[in-house]
Structure formats: structure tokens, C-alpha cells
Symmetry: C2
Subunit: 333 residues, 2 copies
């Protein structure tokens, strides 16, 4: 496939076109991704997540610059799962562009939601594949918030950084938000602000009282999906807490070093293989579920579906019986 | 079905047992939900979402007390999508219990994630059905964060309240978080804090510059899933911004009044019917996707799946071809 050949050869236009295909979710994209796939597996994928206002975009920016200084090529994906139409994602992009645009070793892409039901997580995973195949060595995936989409997207990363900032609310909220459970590295950004040390102390306390290792929890969540037993806990990695001031690039070299150390740990411990298998399992389930939705759209007319929907909404029929009625059409090729 | 009869008669134990069945996702639950369904559609469902630290739990608590004073029975569902094993959801519950426990007109349930891929959104929707059938008149669904799970869960609510608080970060983050797009009512909680008026002004500005109505965006997101055209925008409702101090129950009567006003608007405008149809459509898709996962688990052994997963992880096979190999097993009854 010419597009795939061009992309693998490092052609930026081919990469951009492939990503557009992924976002439009056309029929061609499947074949392209299948062909790309064997050229992937070389990039290190870094997820960056945390509450709004923690300074994630600035930190991603600083991290990308630091990686460039070390000679690594960098792909950046900014995911905004809640903003289907307005300019949230674009806004962050404009800021980024000032520092990084024009550098052929950097590729930046924003992604907003394509509807719910895992569509965005799957599209993000596919764009990661495209950047990986195009030869980008470090891929930074920034997600807003602490919801399920972020957990899904973090699960496609090799190293997940959770960004906190001082004064973002009570410390107990950090536990409640639950993002610590997906973290490989914690960054306390805006560390020049009052309360930074208090935040670091609170995080240490939360980590101290947690009975389950963070990785054990993460694996549980994913493997339950496919009904498989959870693997042994990932006790070999101690979650580092790193203070940063992203705006002034303070702490960024330390953060970069922690990521690279984590990468080394993943490779030598066999954990990398386990995470790659997790990613593969999730990809399989997503692809199968997408196939079901496609069959529904192909085999059931909008009118038929609307009729059934109106009956369910009017309580003339329950949704389980209605789904049973749709199932044969979904199962037909 | 005895369980269903007891539940509809208002038996608390039957309700608790039904919810446990829903959470365990057993085979019986399907039949129970199908039987329950025609007894639903009477409750008004209120979603409460927003950033961690905004004081959602306290606000839900105060709102429940206010509804009780007006004689309404209240069901509360606290959803924590990111915390599969640790005590986030339970923690919020304990606080709540002090004020509301022992009141037979209140039923409180926490739900943590059951794995990703829409499982939690579906379970939450099912628990809402059970509370509705059991006769609870107002159902408050609290979700943490701003991710896709929250958008999904908000889409099952009739009225969605987005809770902000002063000083939670730059105002532009409110746009970026995108939660405004799902709001029917905005609450600025902790309004006795410095910066509350600034937050209200910022929200007014954001709403003012937004070209799309909030509801239009919401409908888009959902209907894209099923490939249906988006309906006309919901221009008849002006998003109210209400200042509250939940801890001291200030502004809570006003918030309650806004919810009831929104309920009246939904009924008279025909928008209620449209939202019920949205919910039905989403339920149908979720049930179909769950059916696919169940078939995968039933028809493919853990060993077979693991073998395929290892091949994909090792780049010996791409996930699309692997999914094609699984599809016949998924499509077989």
C-alpha cells in the first residue's frame, strides 16, 4: 500500500493523511493499520494525565523540548474526550505550536471525541500505531481529566505520568480521583507555588497507606474485561514523585530521566511484554465491538432503529427484548 | 418474578438484592431488568458532575435533604469510574451516611468500576432503573471527573448539574474540560470563597461566546454513535448559574427549584421524549456490545485468546486480522 510505504519512509504528509483516515474511520483505515502494524513496537509511549489546571500541556511541551535536545523524535497526541465540537483541544495546540512547530522531529495532533463507547480510545490507539510506524521514538499522549477514557488511554501507554498541582483541592480528593492507581510516575507541577511540599507529603501518605500496588490495580481492571486471572503484582517499581515547574522547565530533566528509567525497568522485568499483551487484548475487544456497531448500522435502517427506540422510550418494550430483536441483524454479515 | 414484585412493592431488601445482581452481571439480571422496565419512567434523574474538590458529595447530600423536606423520596448513586478496588466511593458514602442513613425515603449506593468498555455506564443505568421501579421519585447520580464515562452517565440523566468551585485553576480550563457542554444547570459551589464572583463571570463569558447551544453538542455526541442525524438545537432552555455553599446548605433551595423548573421545561417542550429516546438508543447499543463480550468469553477459551494476544503483542499478527479470526466465534450463539 503506497500510503503505508510512504508513512514508514517518514513522509509527513502520508502520516497526516493516515491520521485523517483513522479519524474518519473509513474502510481503508483497517487495511492500512493492518499493514502498518508490523512496523510498530519501537516507540516508547508516555501517557500524561491529571486534573484540569495541573499544567499538563505545558509539561508535555517542556518534555518534548527536552527529548528533542537529547536527539529523540517526538510525537504528541492531545486527547480531549469531552469536547466534541468546541475548541478545547485546538486551544492547547496553539500554545504548543509556538515552541515546537517547524521542527521535523516533532509531530503534534489533537483529537476530540468521536462519540462515546470507546471510539476515542480506539482512535487514539490507532494514531499511536501510525506515529510508531512513522519512526517517532517517544510518543506523548496527553489526556484531560480522570474518567474512564483516561484510564483506557493510560492503559495503552508504557509509562503513565499523573500530574498534580498544589492547592487543587483537599488531599483526600487525590485518592478519590483514583488516578494514582494508573500512575508509574507522579509529577507535582507548579512546584514553586505555596503548598507544593504539602502536596508531595500527602501523595507519599496516600501511597504509603495503599495496600495494593498501583500496578496490581491497573492490571485487575483490564484483565477483568476478558475474564482472565490477574497477574502477580508489579512490586519491582517504586513510584517516583517529581517536583516540576514546567513553565520554567525546572524538574523536566529529572522527569525525563524517570521515564527512561521506567522504560529500562519495563524491558528488564518482563513487564513490557505483559503490558503489550494488555494492549493487544484491549485492541481486540475494541475492534470486535466496533465491528458489531458497524453491522448494526449496515443491517438495520435508521427508521427501523428509531421505531424500536421509540417503543423502548415509551416503555412498550424493554431494551433487553429489543436488543434480542436486533441481534440477528447484527450477527449477519 | 418474586424479586421484581417485592422490589416494586417497595421492599428495600429486594432492591438491594437486585442491585447486587446488577453489579455481578449474572444471567438472572437480564430477566429481572426486562420485568422491571415497564415500571420505570416515573423518577426524575439528576446527574451531578464536576472536577474533584468542587464539593459534589456535600452538594448531593444537601440536595437530598432538601428533597426529603419537600416529601420526595431520593435515591443516590455515587459513581467512581477510576477506583476499581480502593475506597474512594466508600469514603464519600461514610460522610453521607451520617446525615441520611436510617431514613426509609433515602437509598444510597456507591458503584466502582467493573472494568472498562462501558461496563460501569451500563451498570449505572441498570441501577437507576431499579431505583425508579422501586418508586424513588428523585435519583441523584454523582460522578467524579470530566471524562467520557461522565459524559455517558450524564447522558442517562434528565437534568445534569455541573459543579464548579472558585480557584480550581485557570478559567480557560473550564472550557477545556468541556463539561459545560453537558450541563443543564451550573452550580458554583464554595461560593463563600474568594473568587466566586470571578468564576461566575468567567462561566457567563464562556456561555456567551459559545456558538453552539450546550444541548445541541450533547445530542450530536450521542446520535453520532448510531449514525442518526442530529436533532434541532435545544434553544428553549437558558442555562442557569447558581451559587451554593453546600456545607451550610446555602443556595440549595434555589438549586432544587432550578432542577424542578428544568423538569417542567423538559415535559412541556417535548425534550423529555427526545432524551428518553437517546437513553433507549444508548441502552440498546450497550446491551448489544455486552452480548458480544459474553459470546467472546463463552466461545473462546482463555488459552485460545491468550495465544492470539501473545501473537499480536509480538507483532506476528495484526489486531485486525486477529479480530477477524475471533469474529466467527463471537457470532455463534
Amino acid at each position: 500500500m503506497q500510503l503505508v510505504d510512504d508513512l514508514i519512509a517518514g513522509n509527513r504528509r502520508a502520516l497526516a493523511r493516515a491520521i485523517t483516515l483513522i479519524e474518519n474511520d473509513g474502510a481503508e483505515v483497517r487495511d492500512a493499520l493492518a499493514a502498518l502494524y508490523r512496523h510498530t513496537g519501537r516507540a516508547h509511549i508516555v501517557g500524561i494525565t491529571g486534573s484540569p489546571g495541573a499544567g499538563k500541556s505545558t509539561l508535555v511541551n517542556a518534555l518534548a523540548k527536552a527529548y528533542r535536545q537529547q536527539g529523540y523524535s517526538v510525537g504528541i497526541i492531545a486527547v480531549d474526550p469531552t469536547s466534541p465540537f468546541t475548541g478545547g483541544a485546538l486551544l492547547g495546540d496553539r500554545v504548543r505550536m509556538r515552541d515546537l512547530s517547524g521542527d521535523p522531529g516533532v509531530f503534534i495532533r489533537s483529537m476530540a471525541t468521536r462519540g462515546s463507547l470507546g471510539g476515542l480510545a480506539q482512535a487514539t490507539a490507532d494514531v499511536i500505531l501510525a506515529l510508531d510506524a512513522a519512526g517517532f521514538q517517544r510518543i506523548l499522549v496527553e489526556t484531560v481529566g480522570v474518567g474512564q477514557a483516561e484510564v483506557d488511554i493510560a492503559s495503552t501507554a508504557h509509562s503513565t505520568i499523573v500530574v498534580e498541582a498544589p492547592g487543587m483541592g483537599d488531599e483526600v480528593q487525590a485518592i478519590k480521583a483514583g488516578v494514582l492507581e494508573i500512575a508509574d510516575i507522579l509529577a507535582v507541577n507548579k512546584a514553586d507555588r505555596e503548598g507544593a511540599d504539602k502536596t508531595v507529603t500527602a501523595l507519599h501518605m496516600v501511597l504509603g497507606v495503599s495496600n495494593l500496588s498501583t500496578r496490581q490495580v491497573r492490571h485487575h481492571g483490564q484483565l477483568l474485561d476478558a475474564g482472565l486471572p490477574a497477574p502477580a503484582s508489579d512490586a519491582g517499581w517504586t513510584l517516583p514523585i517529581i517536583k516540576t515547574v514546567a513553565l520554567r522547565e525546572q524538574g523536566v530533566p529529572e522527569l525525563l530521566a524517570a521515564i527512561e528509567e521506567h522504560r529500562g525497568y519495563l524491558q528488564t522485568s518482563g513487564e513490557l511484554q505483559r503490558r503489550e499483551e494488555d494492549r493487544a487484548r484491549i485492541a481486540l475487544v475494541h475492534i470486535l465491538q466496533a465491528a458489531v456497531l458497524r453491522r448494526l448500522q449496515k443491517n438495520v435502517s435508521a427508521q427501523q432503529l428509531q421505531h424500536l427506540v421509540a417503543q423502548v422510550a415509551g416503555r412498550e418494550q424493554d431494551p433487553y427484548s429489543a436488543a434480542d430483536r436486533l441481534l440477528p441483524a447484527v450477527l449477519t454479515a
